[in-house]
Structure formats: structure tokens, C-alpha cells
């Protein structure tokens, strides 16, 4: 059994050995496609293309990678590249078809758990995100602090929740199993499952309070 599979991949790729590509595919391709499909809800063809692009970037930039702590560093590096690719994919979507439109097609219409105001709040945040992306086009790359600022409402509302509630929401959004969350929060799996929907509702209510104009519309109707 291989003790350090990632070190072997990195070394073979650096040597220019095609075996490295085969091992890289074997370890990561299906995994990345599954993440794109199941967690970020990307269509199959696009998910496969995205995973392929991620591995291509890995091969092209392999010389820049360095192990700092353990064999797992490489896995974290690949996932970081994947995360950045998904972010770029969503930004592209925001600039072309629009995030609001793409989410409305598949998500917002089906969603029965939230009221009209809550949906409008989400749409308002998504629209603002799209606008800020458009404003940065065409030649300026989005500076990190500005990205952070435009999603600040989400961060601020999370800060209003209890620590375990924050962990629960952040982790479940990325489909991290309840069992893992349980280790970090000290709550039982059963409790977490029961509270998840309530905490989401609480989050949405707090978020809606930040958009009084949308609440007012709802009331007047």
C-alpha cells in the first residue's frame, strides 16, 4: 500500500512521466465531478469539463506546488484550485446568463420553505453580487476585500448566530455530514438534524431584517 500517494504523483508529474496523469485522474477526477454535481449543482457536462480544467491546471502548475506539512497538502491544493474554478464558473454565469436567472430556473421556484420576502432578499443579494461583478469588468480583476464586502450581509448575519449554529449552516451548505459537524459543535447528530431547518429559518429572518424595504412590500401586499 502506498504510504504517500500524493508525493508519488507530484514526483512523477515533475519528472514528466505520463503515469502521474493517470494516477491524478484515478484519485481526483470522479471526486471533483461529484463535488461539482452534488454540492455546487453544476450540470454533468460542465462538471466534467470543470474537473478536467482543474486537473489541467494541476499539471501546468505542478512546479509551483510545495509540500509544507504532510502528504495531504497536495489534496488541499487540488481542492483549492477546484474551489477557485467553481468560483470563476459562477462569476462567468453571473456575467452571462445571470445567477438570479439560473438559480430561479432550478432552485427558487421549487423552494417552498421560505416566504416571498425571504426570496426577494436572496434575489436582492444575488443581483447586488452580479452588479458588482459587472462593475469590475472588463479589465480589473476583482480585489479580494471588495468581494468580501459585497457579501458582508451574510457574514454579519452569521455573526449574530450562536457559534454552533454558524458551524452548522456553513458546513451543511457544503454538504459536510452531520457526524463531522457533531465533533465540532458538541451537539448530537439528531439535535443537529432537528435544528438545521430552524437555524436556516432564523438566518433568513435576520437577513430579511436588513432589507426593510422588501419587508414593507410584503406587508403592503
Amino acid at each position: 500500500m502506498r504510504q504517500q500517494p500524493n508525493r508519488e504523483i507530484v514526483e512523477t508529474l515533475r519528472r514528466g512521466d505520463p503515469q502521474g496523469c493517470a494516477r491524478l485522474m484515478e484519485l481526483f477526477f470522479d471526486r471533483l465531478v461529484n463535488e461539482a454535481l452534488n454540492v455546487f449543482h453544476i450540470q454533468v457536462e460542465e462538471a466534467e469539463e470543470l474537473a478536467s480544467d482543474v486537473l489541467l491546471t494541476v499539471v501546468q502548475k505542478i512546479d509551483r506546488f510545495q509540500f509544507k506539512r504532510s502528504d495531504k497538502d497536495f489534496h488541499v491544493w487540488v481542492i483549492t484550485i477546484f474551489r477557485n474554478r467553481v468560483r470563476d464558473y459562477l462569476r462567468q454565469k453571473a456575467l452571462t446568463t445571470g445567477l438570479v436567472e439560473s438559480y430561479q430556473e432550478s432552485a427558487l421556484e421549487e423552494e417552498g420553505a421560505y416566504g416571498r420576502t425571504e426570496r426577494e432578499v436572496v434575489l436582492a443579494i444575488l443581483r447586488r453580487h452580479e452588479e458588482s461583478l459587472r462593475a469590475e469588468e472588463p479589465d480589473d480583476p476583482p480585489p479580494t476585500n471588495q468581494n468580501e464586502r459585497r457579501l458582508q450581509d451574510i457574514v454579519d448575519v452569521l455573526d449574530q448566530l450562536e457559534a454552533w449554529e454558524r458551524v452548522l449552516l456553513r458546513c451543511r451548505a457544503l454538504d459536510i455530514p452531520y457526524e463531522e459537524i457533531s465533533h465540532y459543535t458538541g451537539k448530537s447528530v439528531k439535535q443537529l438534524k432537528v435544528y438545521h431547518a430552524r437555524v436556516k429559518k432564523k438566518f433568513m429572518n435576520l437577513l430579511a431584517l436588513r432589507y426593510p424595504e422588501l419587508n414593507h412590500e410584503e406587508r403592503s401586499r
Binding site: G20, R31, N38, L55, L90, Y103, V155, L169, L174
Partner: protein, 197 residues
């Protein structure tokens, strides 16, 4: 699978770097059960794409332009510690650090160091002289383009673009073979002549 409004928002915030899971997400990805297996055809195409990129990478292995790039490449490819190179070259750690970042002109170090350098890395004299020349040009002209970059940077939030611009400018300066002022050219020539003796 059903999408949820809160999850969508939090995913967006995660991808944009506003929130984090402190490494938990990365850890979990490796443990998940794979539900969808891509077709053999897709995998074959991807593998061919990766192998092509790998071959190109080998063909286009970057030729180091400057002493700094050369040292960085040596350290990355052969996993050599900086301290080992410091002792083998017989220079101070500070000088080494400045050399590796192309912050020190080679003319500031005696020719004996460069002779040792050539022997250590088995470098032909011609190649070393060219690297020394390009490094000296880069170090000499750097303040002038840093002034330009500083003016550019005065406009807010340009740090990412500035870094890319700086890399491109450095490459341009080192490739451009610019003519140095007479005094600088003489200093450089004196070092190269000393290396030949």
C-alpha cells in the same frame, strides 16, 4: 438534489472567500462516496489532454533568465535547502537571499564567487555571463519601473494587477537587452572578463 436558498448564499460566500470551514470541507471531499462515475470516453479525453499539457510543460521548461530565477529553479527541482547553497557558494545568507530575489547585482560579489557558482552548477561560462548580464540589467533598471508601478498602485485596489504587471515588466526588462550607462557596462564587463581569466 434540491437546492436551498440559504445553502446557495453560503456557498457563494464560501467560494468568494467571505466565510470558511477551516479546512473541514477539503478534508471531507476526500472521504465522500463517489456516486457519479464519468464515462470512459470522457476520462480518456481528459487523460489525453493532461498528457499533452505534461509534454508541453517538459518541452517549455522555463530557461532561467536571471541568477535569482536559476537559484529558485535549482531549489524547487532538486529540493536543496538555501542554507546548503549559502555554504557551498561561500556567501552570507543575506547576500544569498538578495541574489535569489534578484535584489543584488552580481557585480557586487567578487568573481571568485561566480567561478565557484559555475563549477557548482556545471554552468558554461557563456551562459553564466548572460545570466549575470540580465540580472545586472534588471537590478539596475528596477527602481525606474518601480516608480511607474508606485504611481499605478496609488489607484486603490490594484494589488493583483500590479503583481502581474510587475512580473511581466521584470521579464521584459531582462529579455530586452537594454544598453546600460557606460559606468555600469564597464563594471559588468570587468566582472565577466575576470571570470574568463
Amino acid at each position: 438534489m434540491k437546492k436551498d436558498l440559504v445553502d446557495l448564499l453560503l456557498q457563494l460566500a464560501y467560494l468568494e472567500g467571505s466565510i470558511s470551514t477551516r479546512g473541514l470541507y477539503e478534508k471531507i471531499v476526500g472521504k465522500r462516496v463517489i456516486q457519479h462515475v464519468a464515462s470512459v470516453d470522457v476520462k480518456r479525453k481528459t487523460l489525453a489532454r493532461l498528457q499533452q499539457a505534461l509534454n508541453q510543460r517538459v518541452d517549455n521548461a522555463e530557461v532561467p533568465l536571471t541568477i535569482g530565477m536559476f537559484l529558485q529553479q535549482i531549489r524547487t527541482k532538486h529540493a536543496v535547502a538555501a542554507s546548503e547553497l549559502v555554504s557551498r557558494l561561500g556567501i552570507s545568507a543575506n547576500h544569498y537571499k538578495m541574489l535569489e530575489n534578484d535584489r543584488l547585482s552580481p557585480v557586487k560579489l567578487p568573481s571568485t564567487v561566480w567561478k565557484r557558482f559555475a563549477r557548482l552548477f556545471n554552468l558554461p561560462l557563456q551562459e553564466l555571463s548572460e545570466m549575470i548580464r540580465r540580472t545586472h540589467i534588471l537590478v539596475f533598471f528596477r527602481p525606474s519601473f518601480h516608480l511607474t508601478l508606485a504611481r499605478y498602485d496609488a489607484r486603490k485596489n490594484r494589488s493583483m494587477k500590479k503583481a502581474a504587471l510587475q512580473r511581466a515588466t521584470e521579464q521584459l526588462y531582462t529579455r530586452a537587452n537594454l544598453s546600460l550607462p557606460t559606468k555600469e557596462e564597464e563594471k559588468l564587463q570587468a566582472l565577466i572578463d575576470e571570470l574568463k581569466t
